[in-house]
C-alpha cells in the first residue's frame, strides 16, 4: 500500500487516531449512538432531520473505512441498519422510503458497476433490463395478463419470491441477447447502441398495447401485487399495531437490505476471482488480455449478463414496491442517473458505487426538494431568483455538471478502488491448508 507520510494533510492527522486503535471503537460507537438518539427523538421531516439522516448514513461508511475488527463493523451495521433505521421508519415513513429507494439504486449501481467499472463497457441502456423485470412482475401479477390471453389469470402474490429468480433469469437472457451481437463493437459504439436499445425498449413498452395489449401502453400497469406478509400475524400477536402500508414499508426495506447484502458479496467475490481479473485486464488492454488467452467476447458477455440480471431482480422488487409502472419510469435519464452514481463513487469500486447510489438518491429525494423549499422561502422574502427555477426540476443540469466535473477533475471518483490486504489474508489461510495437505501425503 502506498503510504506517503510526508504529505499527510491536516484532515488525515485528525482522523488517523479515530480510525484505528481503541479510540476508533469508542468514536464509532458514540457517533452511531448520537445519530440514532437524535433521529429517534426528532422524527419530524425537516432540515435538521435531513442532516442527521445523512450523517447517520455516513456513519456506515466511516465504520467501513476505519480499522476496527470485522465483528465490530458487523455489529454496528446490524444495529444501525437492522434496528435503528427501521424503527425510525415506523416513526417517519418518509425516511424509510428514502432508505429503501437508496437500497434499490445501490443494487442497480453495483450491477452497472460490474459492466462499466469492472469490464469497462459503457452501458447507457441499463434501465432496459430493470424495465424487463418490472414489466414481468407487473404483467403477471395483475389482470393485465388476461389481456394477452383471456384464459390466463394473474399469478398468486406469493409467486413474488420465485419471480425474483425469474426476473434474474429474464435480465440475464435479455443481456445475453443484446450483448451477443454488440459486444464485439468498440467501446463508444457500444454506448450508443445500448442507448438506442434502451430507447427501443421504452418505445416498445409505450406501443405494445396494440395489436395485443401486452404492456398497456402509455397508461402503464396499475395495482401491481405485493407479496403476502409472512409473519404479519406473529407481529400482530406481539401487540404491535401497524397498518399494512407500514408493514410493507418495513418488509421492502428488509428485502432490499438483504438483496443489497447478497449483491455486495457476489460482486466482491467476482471482483477478486479469475473472472474479475480477466475483466480488469480487458479493460486495461484488450490486445494484451487476449494474448493471455482470455476470451474477450465471452468475458464481456458475462459482465453484461451479470449486470443485467441484477437489474432484472430489482425490477421485480421495484414494480411490487411502487405498485405502478409506466414507460417514462424507464427513460434515458434513469440510466444516466445510475451511471452518475457509479461515476461519482468511482468506476470499479464497490464501496464507491454504494456511496454514489446513496448520495444521488438522497440528492434526488431529500436534498434537492429541501433546497427548492429554501429557495422558495428566499423568493418570498424578495430574493432575485427566477420563479421558474425549481432545483428538483433541474436534475439533468445537476447530473450533467456532475459528470463533466468528475471527468475533468476526479475521473477516479470519490471513493476510488483500492487494493486491499484482506484477500492477502485469505490466501495465507489457504496456503496453510495446502501445506497441511502436502504433509498428509
Amino acid at each position: 500500500m502506498t503510504t506517503s507520510t510526508s504529505s499527510q494533510s491536516l484532515w488525515q492527522r485528525v482522523t488517523a487516531p479515530l480510525s484505528s486503535g481503541p479510540a476508533a471503537y469508542g468514536f464509532l460507537a458514540l457517533y452511531v449512538l448520537a445519530c440514532s438518539v437524535l433521529l429517534l427523538t426528532n422524527p419530524r421531516t425537516e432540515l435538521s432531520t435531513d442532516i442527521v439522516f445523512v450523517l447517520f448514513m455516513l456513519s456506515m461508511l466511516v465504520a467501513y473505512r476505519s480499522r476496527v475488527a470485522g465483528w465490530f463493523k458487523v455489529v454496528l451495521g446490524v444495529v444501525a441498519l437492522g434496528v435503528v433505521l427501521p424503527y425510525f421508519g415506523t416513526l417517519n415513513p418518509f425516511y424509510i422510503d428514502v432508505a429503501t429507494q437508496a437500497g434499490i439504486f445501490t443494487a442497480l449501481a453495483l450491477g452497472l458497476n460490474v459492466v462499466v467499472g469492472f469490464a469497462g463497457l459503457l452501458d447507457l441502456g441499463y434501465v432496459a433490463f430493470f424495465a424487463v423485470g418490472a414489466y414481468a412482475w407487473g404483467i403477471f401479477s395483475t389482470p393485465q395478463i388476461s389481456e394477452i390471453n383471456p384464459a390466463w389469470g394473474p399469478v398468486d402474490p406469493v409467486m413474488f419470491y420465485p419471480f425474483l429468480i425469474i426476473g434474474l433469469i429474464l435480465g440475464l437472457i435479455t443481456g445475453v441477447l443484446l450483448g451477443l451481437p454488440v459486444l464485439r463493437l468498440r467501446g463508444d459504439y457500444l454506448a450508443i447502441v445500448t442507448l438506442g436499445f434502451g430507447e427501443v425498449i421504452r418505445v416498445v413498452a409505450n406501443n405494445l398495447d396494440r395489436p395485443i395489449n401486452i404492456t398497456n401502453g402509455s397508461q402503464g400497469i396499475r395495482a401491481i401485487e405485493r407479496p403476502p406478509l409472512i409473519i404479519v400475524d406473529q407481529i400482530r400477536n406481539l401487540g404491535i399495531v401497524a397498518d399494512d402500508n407500514r408493514l410493507y414499508q418495513l418488509f421492502f426495506y428488509y428485502l432490499v437490505l438483504i438483496i443489497v447484502l447478497l449483491t455486495v458479496i457476489v460482486v466482491a467475490r467476482l471482483k477478486h476471482s479469475r473472472i474479475g481479473r480477466a475483466w480488469e485486464a480487458i479493460r486495461e488492454d484488450e490486445v494484451a488480455a487476449v494474448a493471455q488467452g482470455i476470451p474477450r467476447v465471452r468475458m464481456k458477455l458475462m459482465a453484461f449478463a451479470i449486470g443485467a440480471s441484477f437489474a432484472g431482480v430489482m425490477g421485480v422488487v421495484f414494480a411490487s414496491k411502487q405498485l405502478f409502472i409506466n414507460p417514462p419510469t424507464f427513460d434515458l435519464l434513469r440510466s444516466i442517473n445510475i451511471l452518475a452514481m457509479v461515476i461519482l463513487g468511482g468506476m470499479g469500486s464497490i464501496p464507491g458505487a454504494m456511496l454514489g447510489a446513496i448520495i444521488v438518491t438522497m440528492l434526488d429525494l431529500q436534498i434537492l426538494p429541501r433546497i427548492a423549499a429554501v429557495l422558495r422561502e428566499a423568493q418570498a422574502a424578495g430574493a432575485p431568483i427566477p420563479r421558474q427555477f425549481d432545483p428538483t426540476q433541474y436534475q439533468r443540469l445537476l447530473f450533467g455538471l456532475l459528470l463533466v466535473v468528475m471527468m475533468i477533475f476526479r475521473p477516479e471518483g470519490l471513493w476510488p478502488d483500492e487494493r486491499r490486504r484482506e484477500e492477502q489474508h485469505e490466501v495465507e489461510i489457504a496456503d496453510e491448508e495446502l501445506e497441511a495437505d502436502k504433509a498428509a501425503k
Binding site: 488480455a289 488467452g293 496456503d431
Partner: protein, 259 residues
C-alpha cells in the same frame, strides 16, 4: 515433427505487402531468431502467428493443429505466448496479478464456486498464487509482487512480461525485441533469462531482435526478413556470411567489401 510450421504466409495492408510468402519452421526445444531491418515485417509476422492478424495467404500449424484463422485467445490457450515490442503490461494491476492473468486458461473455478467461495476455488487460487510467485522468483522479481506493474523499472517490466507469458505453461514463447532499450549489463541478464527459459523449462523461443551480439550468441537458427520476404535462413555462421543479409543491413556495395 516441427512444433510450429508457417507456410507461405502473406499479409497485405491496403497496397502494402507487409509479409510476403514467408515459410518458417521451428523445431521443439530450439531458440530461433527473426531478424531484419526496421519495417521488414517481423512484428507483423508475429501478429499473424499469434492470431492478431489473419493471414491473407498461407497456413500456420502449431503443435499438430492447423491454427490458421484462429482467434488470439484460442492460440494463446493452445500454448503459444508472446511479449510485445512496446511492453503491454496491465499497469494498474499488481505484479502478481499480471502473472495470474497469464494463468487464466488454467483456472477453471465456475461462477458458482466463485460466488459461494467453494473449497476448490480457494485452493485453485492459492495454488495459482504459489505458482505465480515461483515464476516471479524465476525471473527474479518476487520481492516486487505487490507493486503496481506500471511502477516497475523498465528492465523489470520486461521480466514481468516474460513471467506472464510463462504463466500459461506455453510450449513456445515469442519475444518481440526483449532487450530493446537495455544497457549491455541488462542485455546480458536478459540473454541469460532467455537461455534458462529453454534449458530449465524446455520452452521453445522465437526471438525478434536487433542486438546482433545477442542474436548470434543465443540462436540456433536465424531467419532474415527484408521488405516482407524471407531472404535467408540458416545457422549463425551461414547468416553471418550471407551476402544478401549483409546487403540488406548495410546497403549495396557493402557485401562485396565484407566478402
Amino acid at each position: 515433427m516441427a512444433l510450429l510450421e508457417a507456410t507461405n504466409i502473406t499479409k497485405i495492408f491496403g497496397g502494402l505487402v507487409a509479409v510476403n510468402d514467408v515459410t518458417f519452421t521451428v523445431e521443439p526445444g530450439s531458440i530461433v531468431s527473426v531478424i531484419g531491418p526496421n519495417g521488414a515485417g517481423k512484428t507483423t509476422f508475429f501478429n499473424v502467428l499469434t492470431g492478431i492478424y489473419k493471414p491473407d495467404k498461407g497456413r500456420v500449424v502449431f503443435a499438430g493443429q492447423d491454427i490458421t484463422g484462429w482467434r488470439s485467445d484460442q492460440i494463446a490457450a493452445l500454448g503459444m505466448r508472446r511479449t510485445f515490442q512496446n511492453i503491454r503490461l496491465f499497469g494498474n494491476m499488481t505484479v502478481l496479478e499480471n502473472v495470474l492473468i497469464g494463468m487464466h486458461v488454467h483456472l477453471h473455478a465456475s461462477i458458482w464456486s466463485i460466488i459461494f467461495r467453494g473449497r476448490t476455488m480457494v485452493r485453485e487460487e492459492a495454488k495459482a498464487r504459489n505458482k505465480a510467485l515461483e515464476l516471479l522468483s524465476f525471473v527474479g522479481i518476487a520481492d516486487k509482487r505487490d507493486e503496481l506493474a506500471k511502477n516497475l523499472p523498465y528492465g523489470d517490466q520486461r521480466r514481468l512480461e516474460i513471467a506472464r507469458a510463462m504463466a500459461g505453461d506455453p510450449k513456445i514463447i515469442l519475444l518481440d525485441e526483449p532487450t530493446a532499450g537495455m544497457n549491455p549489463h541488462e542485455t546480458a541478464e536478459a540473454t541469460q533469462l532467455i537461455r534458462r527459459l529453454r534449458d530449465e523449462r524446455g520452452i521453445t523461443v522465437i526471438l525478434i531482435e536487433h542486438d546482433m551480439r545477442l542474436v548470434m550468441s543465443i540462436s540456433e537458427r536465424i531467419s532474415v526478413l527484408d521488405y516482407g520476404s524471407k531472404i535467408a535462413e540458416g545457422d549463425v555462421q551461414a547468416i553471418r556470411t550471407n551476402p544478401r543479409v549483409i546487403e540488406a543491413y548495410l546497403g549495396k556495395g557493402a557485401a562485396g567489401q565484407a566478402a
